[in-house]
Structure formats: C-alpha cells, structure tokens
C-alpha cells in the first residue's frame, strides 16, 4: 500500500486529464498523474537533444503484425499500428461486426503515451457550435426531420448540462494555453477573445477547397449573409508560445510538415498536452508523473473512492491510497474510462450501484458521423495528368467552413445537427502513406491498395471498363503521376444520433495482457446518421466540383463512413460518450461537474462525458471542459 499526500490523482495525461493536473498544480495542490504509456520527449526536452519521436513513416506506422486472439473473426489478419498505439493482441477493443462476429481492433487516435491522443492527432482544434450544446431544445418541436421514422432523434437528443456561453471562457483558455493557430473570423461561433496564432501560408493545392467553400458559402447563407471559409484552427504553434515557453524555428515555413498528423512531433511544435500543459509544470515539487503505470481497479468505501489499484512499470500490482478529501479524476479516453469503471463494478455490487444505478454506464457510446469527398485535382479546364503539388509541406488542414452548422442549412435538409467541413491537405503526402491509404475508406485497410492488385486509372480517355492496370513497373509510374501530390480531400465531422443500443460492455471471454476483460463495442448507425452523411458527403463533393478541383462527374469519390466495408470496425476516430453528464441523475452517469452522482470524489473528464458528439473534432471541447472541471476542483480542494 502506497500512502501519499496527493490532493488529486489524475488517471490519464491526455486532453481530459492534463488540463486538470496543470490547473491544480498551479493552484498549489499536490497532484499525481498516472499514465499508462511511456514518457516520450521532443528534442528540446530530452537529455541528448534527440527526440523519442521520429519523422519516419515506418516508425510511425509500424511493420505488419498478425492478430493472434483466438475466437476473433479476424484471427491471423494483418494489422499495422503506430508505436504509441496499444498492441492489438495485448489490449484489443472488440467490435461486433455486421455479421454478428467479433473482431479485434483499435480506434484511429487512441494512443498510450504521455499526452495521450494529442500526441497522435492531426491537431484540428475546432469549437463546437452553440446549437451543438442544445440539440434537444433545437429539435423538440421540429416536424421536418428526415430519415427518422420512429422519432428516435427527438426522443434521444439531449441538451448538455452547460451551454456554449458557459464553456466559452474555457475555449479561450485552451486557445491561449495549448497554443493554436488559425483564424476566428468567419466562424459561426462567437469568440470573446482571440488568442489564435497566425496561420502559415496555405499549401497551394488547398485553393481548390477554398474556392469551393466560398461558392458554397454564398449558396448557403447564414441569417442572410454569405458564409466564408476560415483558416482551420490547428494545435500547432506558429509563433513563440509564452505559456509553454516553446519557440518556433527561425524559418516559420519549415513548420509546415506532413509529419504531424498521426506522428508525435519531435520538435514539440504540435501542441500535445505534454508539451503545452504538463511539461511546463513538470519540475514543480507538487506534481508527480508516473508513466508506464496502468490503473486496473478503483475501490471505494461508502461514497468515496479510497484505493487505486495499478500495475507498476514492472507489472507488479500496487495499491495507492486516496487520502481523505482528495479527488480521483478518470481520463483514460472514453472506452478505457468506461471499462475501468465497469471492471471496478464487476466484483463490487455496491460500487456498481453507485456508478451505474440506471444501467446507463457504457450506453450512448458515440463516435462521429464523418466522411467527405476526395479527388485528384485536375483543374478547370481539366488537365491530365492531374496537377501536382508538394503536399509534404503542409499541416493537416488549411481551410474550414461552418455553413453546414447554420440553422438555415439544417432546416433546409431536415437535419438534426450540423457539421464542420474542412479540407485535409497533408493526407497521402508521403510515399508510404499514399500507398497505404489509397482507395481505402479507413485506416485499418491501410494496405488495401497493395491487396487490390489492380487500380483503376482516372484517365478520362480510357474507357471505364478497361481502366484496370498493374501496379508495377510502368504501372507504378502511372500511379505516381496520377496520385502523388495530386489528391485533395474535404471532410465533414458531424454529430451521431445518441442511442442506448450503441454501447461499451466488458467482453465475455477476451482478456487483456493483465487478464482483465477487454472492452466490447456494440454499435450501428441510425437511419438519420446515414442520411446526414449522404447530405454532407455531397456537400464536400460539390465543394471540390465548384472549386474547380475536378469537374468530371465521376472524378470525385465521396461518401460517409457508414458505407465502408468495415463500417462497424475501426470507424471510431473519435470515441465519446458512455458516461454522459447531465442535470438529471436518472438520465446521466455524471453530474454537471462530471462527478459520479454517488461517488463524491470521482470525476470522469475525457470524451465519455459528452451526451452528444458535437459537430467538430472533440479535443478542444474535452480540454475546455477539463479546465472548467478544474476550476470546480480548485474551489473544492
């Protein structure tokens, strides 16, 4: 038993945990952060000046491994993962496929490392809209919702326990403290303060996305005014960042690198929660960070969590006492946090009664409705081969637009909730990532290109039925000519309808390397989700078309993720919900401070608290909410 004097023990160092740890440390509280993954350093924080992260495609994506879990439908299949992702055989998540069989998998941006998923993310850092926080109110009286024959959307939509206005000051704090570049003008979200750093020069290929966004923003005005694109907020510093004392290179343009999305950044310019929030306070005596320690169980007495059971870096079980008056913050990312709570409830009926009295824990698991359109840019009039750009000099996204979140747009199409649309500039910029993801609809099919054997050519001069070609020799040259530096995609990120049947459970037979049941994900798309993805994918297609990226009717591929062959498998780039917060204890797992209703010192602050998934990438909102909870904790401790 390890006795200690910590005021707060934070489990997880990513977007949900780090803001709380930092805020409490600065308020003079004694804090312990327990992180399952390693402490990997950028150059400026390492002893020898070398980073534990590399600009190296193979290092980032890894060699082929084989799934070796008996009973899985994908036993023996190939898998590729980043060096900071969990090993699929050791700690899989199990998805139930459309065929009712179980598949081992992991989500797109789950990372086990100090900083969590913010080490791996593309860093798109958008706020949610005002409407995203009040989707029940927004939809209550509507009769125009499409593809919702049973009224599920209106029944299941929820308002958040807080409003946009409540969270807005914390969005500002994130933008200041984390370090984000972009522009606030033209966003359909009010900013009280603009802390965004100057964006870098956009990659020339992105002009085709911007042109399309401008045209579509005129076509779909908001309150009578055209909607204009803005520079996508990205958590990458482009100027020296005083709060974290990070400095940018003398040549600002060199910051533009495609070694950012799905890479840990060796220069520390990408604003992970480690470089932006924790490292600046890491040498304070009231902060301890124990990496390579995985929490396996919480124990309680009455309404307090009293013990944290964890495995130390050598694998030995240790028990950490929670001192009277101290709080425990669980922020392991949505699936793992829900799993930890479920595991703790598994053998303790009183814990279960307190954390899950209404059978809501694990339910209303959410991802995002996402998808988009992609093309080889041929311009207008079209040229063949396509136009080529050096996409390796770009960050994840250059331009975004908010018209698909305006009420006018939602009513026009009968949608329950809106979306952000942004272009992806750095996708497929490097040769391995190009081959890995070409023709695939998601990242678990990363070698689909090679497995497909023959790829179609986009050459309009070739009859459609004879466009196959071999990918070797001249075929490879043709492939590069048509695809290397030519491809531009536009994506949408939208709310998924919350459903109780979409849920996280403990798998009945599969265990992790600690012999604990692994998470079992059961989910499907609602008919309104599919309709919404069709509408938004078509918007993305039109952006590319009217932006003159490609005028050919069949030159643009588009769709929602529900159409992917593996639509139930590794679809969850963002994992949210499962322990939603609310004002009604009968309808939520957590109260408005993200505290378990009947466990007074237990808080859950990763994306699992979200009752709806928001129309944008979630990291910004998770961090803002964590700062909000931190303020509550400072007043409490």
């Amino acid at each position: 038993m390890i006795t200690n004097d910590y005021d707060a023990i934070v489990i997880g160092s990513g977007a949900g945990g780090a803001p709380i740890a930092q805020r409490l440390v600065l308020a003079g509280k004694s804090v312990l952060v327990l992180e399952k993954g390693p402490l990997l350093q950028p150059q400026y924080l390492s002893d020898d000046g070398l980073s534990d992260f590399k600009r190296d495609e193979l290092f980032a994506t890894g060699p082929e491994k084989r799934i070796g879990i008996e009973g899985m439908a994908n036993l023996g299949q190939a898998t590729f993962s980043s060096h900071v992702e969990p090993d699929l055989n050791d700690e899989p998540h199990i998805y139930q496929g459309a065929d009712g069989r179980d598949y081992a998998t992991l989500e797109g941006y789950t990372a086990q490392v100090i900083g969590g998923g913010t080490q791996l993310y593309g860093a798109v850092h958008l706020r949610f809209t005002e409407t995203d926080f009040r989707l029940k109110s927004f939809n209550d009286d509507r009769t125009d919702l499409r593809a919702d024959p049973n009224g599920d959307v209106r029944r299941e939509a929820r308002d958040w326990a807080i409003s946009y206005a409540d969270l807005e000051p914390y969005y500002c704090q994130v933008e200041e403290l984390v370090g984000i570049n972009g522009t606030s003008a033209n966003q359909l979200k009010p900013f009280s303060i603009d802390h965004l750093q100057r964006p870098l020069t956009p990659n020339p290929i992105s002009v085709y996305a911007r042109q399309g966004m401008v045209a579509k923003g005129v076509q779909h005005p908001h309150q009578g005014q055209p909607v204009s694109p803005y520079r996508t907020p990205l958590a990458v510093i482009t100027e020296n960042h005083a709060p974290s004392k990070r400095k940018v290179p003398a040549d600002r343009d060199s910051i533009r690198s495609s070694y950012v999305n799905r890479y840990g950044d060796p220069l520390g310019l990408k604003s992970s929660t480690w470089v932006s929030l924790l490292a600046p306070v890491a040498d304070r005596p009231n902060l301890a960070i124990w990496c390579n320690c995985v929490v396996t169980l919480l124990r309680h007495q009455a309404d307090r969590v009293t013990d944290i059971v964890f495995r130390d870096p050598g694998g030995q079980e240790q028990v950490l006492q929670v001192k009277p008056g101290a709080v425990v913050v669980v922020a392991c990312s949505a699936i793992e946090s829900v799993r930890l709570l479920q595991l703790s409830a598994l053998t303790d009926t009183e814990f279960r009664r307190r954390i899950n009295p209404n059978d809501l824990l694990g339910r209303y698991f959410l991802t995002h409705c996402f998808g988009g359109a992609e093309t080889a840019v041929v311009g207008n009039p079209p040229s063949f081969p396509p136009l080529q750009f050096d996409k390796s000099a770009s960050l994840d996204s250059d331009w975004a637009i908010d018209y698909p979140s305006s009420e006018d747009f939602l009513r026009e199409f009968g949608l329950w909730a809106g979306a952000a649309i942004y272009n992806n500039t750095s996708d497929q910029a490097l040769p391995l990532s190009l081959a890995r993801t070409h023709g695939s609809q998601d990242i678990d099919t990363i070698w689909q290109t090679f497995d497909a054997g023959f790829w179609g050519t986009a050459d309009p001069g070739v009859p459609a039925d004879s466009r196959g070609r071999p990918l070797h020799g001249q075929g490879m040259i043709d492939f590069f000519r048509e695809n290397f530096g030519t491809r531009l995609s536009v994506s949408f990120m939208a709310n998924q309808v919350p459903l109780p049947s979409n849920r996280i459970e403990l798998h009945p037979t599969v265990v992790d390397k600690w012999k604990r049941p692994v998470a079992w994900i059961i989910k499907d798309w609602h008919s309104h989700d599919r309709y919404l993805m069709d509408v938004l994918a078509n918007q993305c297609r039109e952006i590319l078309k009217v932006g003159n990226a490609n005028p050919h009717p069949d030159g643009i591929e588009s769709g929602g993720i529900y159409m992917a062959g593996n639509a139930r498998a590794r679809i969850a780039n963002h994992i949210l919900g499962g322990a939603r917060f609310g004002l009604d204890r009968n309808d939520s797992v957590l109260d408005s401070h993200c505290r378990a209703w009947d466990l007074d010192n237990l808080y859950v602050t990763d994306g699992s608290f979200m009752p709806t998934s928001g129309g944008a990438n979630p990291t910004h909102t998770i961090e803002a909410n964590a700062f909000r909870v931190a303020d509550h904790l400072v007043s409490r401790l």
Binding site: L50, E64, G68, S254, G314, D390, M476
Partner: protein
C-alpha cells in the same frame, strides 16, 4: 576489439519500451515469429519481441561530428525469464572477446522492476552476435527472436544496427533472384526510370553521395529494396520468411522451366512482368505450372513482395532500403517533393530536426 562505449542506464528510457512489450501476466501465446515456438517460450506472449535489443539514434550530451554514424543499443532482460538471477552480463562480437558488460537493475521509485538493462554505443551498419552470462551460464536472449547458427553449429542471439547491408536472411541465389523480382516492380527499370538512374544516381559524385547519404553503400539499380526485405524478414516481419523461402524456390524453378536456356538473371523484363500479372490474376493467382499443392496462393506472395519492395524503396534509408535516398530522389526528380526540407542532416537539410 577495444573496450566499447557504455552509457548510464536511464530507467525511464528502458521502461518506455519494456513495460509495454514485456510486462504482463502469463497468457496463451498470441504472437508468432514464424518458427513454431516451444511450449512456454516467452516470445509467444511478448508483443513485438523484435524490438529488443532496442536500437536507437545516438547523440552525445555534447554533440560531436560522427555521432550520426552511431547507434544506441540497449539490452533488456526480465528476471523471470532467467530464474531470478543475481548477476547478468552480456558478451558479444561488439566487444573484446569475453568482455562481460553488466546489466543493471532498472528501477521505478527506487525499487527494482524485474528488468535489467545496459546501453552501449555501437557503429551503424553492423551485424553482431551476443549472449547473456547469467550467474556464470551463457544463455541466448530469451526475448529477441533473431538467432544465428554459427559454422561450429552453436546458436547465438543476433542483432544489427541501422543501415546494415550484410545479407542475413537470403541465400546469395535468393538475393540475386530478389534483385530481379524487385527491380521490375519498382519504376527504375522503365524507360523513365533508366533515365533517372543515369542522371541522378549512377553519376552522382561519390563524395557528395557519401556525405549526404551515409548509407550510400549500394548506389546500384536495386535501390536497396532487397536489403530492406532481407532485414525486415530477419526482424520485424520474421513471420513471412517461410513465404519467401517457398516462393523463391518455386519462382526460380518456374522461370527455368519456362526458359530453359537462359539464366534467371538474364531473362527479359517481359518474362517477369508476365509472371507478376499471372500471380495477381484471380483471387489466388492463375500461374501455369505453379505447384499449387506446395503453395496455394501465389497472389498473396506477389502482394507481399510488392508491399515490401515499395516500402523498402520509399522508407527511411536507415532500414536498409532506399539507398542514398534514391527512391525519394526519383519522386523529387519528377514531381514537386522537397523531401529534404523536413529531414535531418546529412540526409536532409532541416535546420532543427536532428533525427
């Protein structure tokens, strides 16, 4: 060989790899490395056992010229695999004969974790054998799946540092056939590719090449893809060695059967591409004369070979392929692709990133 440079063991650095891959409960094995493992072999349970010893980039605390030619090599053992020993040292071809380098206990909060480690600084481009001396007994590394049988019949653990170009997996005849198989997958033997080789690689000034590309040992037509595959089959993707062994034998026999009067090395490009197309035809390939009873899915092998070849040609040269960055240079010679802007010197010219 002189006594070698040893670094102080940094606990967190070792645990950053050891905990994820080595700390665990006993479970039925979920991992394979190609060879059937004896019952109870710890490698069946360890994830990514090939990561050990840990090979990493090196820089001294005060950087010196030549650091980029060195690797940091960290040996790690688990006490539980060695019956809770009192003393563990490593001996190997990187040090003087029988020089024993002790492994130190790795600590967390001042307490032993059950791991021991030592970190050495070794030159790149080397292949070494080693064993652990455990309480006076020599033992192979229970974690690292790489082993080599010496001429005297004894089996030793083995590792290689970055950019190694010695053949490890392939026999010389297999490597020659692989050169032909890979060169017709890659674009360098097309008319466009030949021009590139002529302009950019074959006539690249040797001195420039060696300072800019530390691994320009093979500025030949192959761009090192075969060397990359040789290495990945020894380490990361060991489980695919059997596919290569079987299929290279079949392909060699098939080509000789089809062209009895020509050496496989001299056969025309068309003969190879015809074979590729047959191997990729239909769900399992449709190759006249292929012994389907011996290996049922030539298509699978062709896809595997193509993935490995492409990866070798266009990944970082430290993996043994993309010699002299020829793969990237080929792309840059045809398309806007300033690959050097992001990468470390002397390979690239980014002023901040150090590799």
């Amino acid at each position: 060989m002189a006594s070698i440079s040893q670094l102080e063991v940094v606990d967190t650095y070792v645990l950053n790899s050891a905990t994820k891959h080595l700390a665990r409960e006993e479970l039925p094995p979920r991992n394979t490395y190609g060879d059937p493992l004896p019952a109870g072999d710890p490698r069946g349970q360890i994830s990514e056992a090939w990561r050990f010893p840990i090979i990493d980039s090196y820089a001294g605390t005060s950087p010196r010229a030549g650091d980029e030619q060195l690797n940091k090599v960290t040996f790690v053992v688990r006490d539980r695999d060695l019956s809770q020993p009192t003393s563990v040292t490593v001996v190997g071809s990187f040090a003087a004969l029988y020089e024993q380098i002790p492994l130190q206990p790795v600590l967390f909060l001042g307490q032993p974790t059950g791991f021991r480690a030592c970190t050495l600084v070794l030159p790149k481009q080397q292949l070494h054998i080693y064993r652990f001396m455990v309480d006076g007994q020599l033992r192979n590394d229970p974690i690292n799946p790489q082993r080599r049988q010496l001429d005297n019949g004894s089996v030793w653990s083995q590792f290689f540092t970055e950019g190694c170009s010695q053949l490890i997996t392939f026999q010389p005849w297999e490597a020659r056939l692989m050169e032909r198989l890979t060169e017709h997958i890659l674009p360098f033997r097309t008319a466009d590719g030949e021009q590139f080789l002529k302009n950019h690689v074959n006539f690249l000034d040797r001195q420039i090449a060696e300072s800019r590309f530390p691994f320009s040992y093979r500025l030949d037509n192959s761009v090192g893809a075969v060397n990359y595959i040789d290495k990945i089959l020894s380490r990361e993707e060991r489980h695919h060695r059997a596919n290569y062994r079987i299929c290279l034998r079949i392909i060699d026999a098939l080509l000789r059967q089809r062209n009895p009067f020509t050496d496989t090395n001299l056969m025309s490009r068309g003969i190879y591409t015809e074979l590729y197309d047959q191997m990729l035809s239909g769900p399992d390939g449709s190759v006249p004369g292929w012994p389907y009873g011996d290996y049922g899915r030539p298509r699978f092998f062709m896809e595997l070979l193509r993935r490995h070849t492409y990866t070798g040609a266009f990944s970082h040269p430290k993996y043994g392929g993309n010699a002299g960055a020829a793969g990237w240079e080929f792309l840059a010679s045809r398309y806007p692709f300033d690959w050097q802007a992001a990468l470390e010197a002397p390979l690239g010219r980014n002023a901040d990133y150090r590799g």
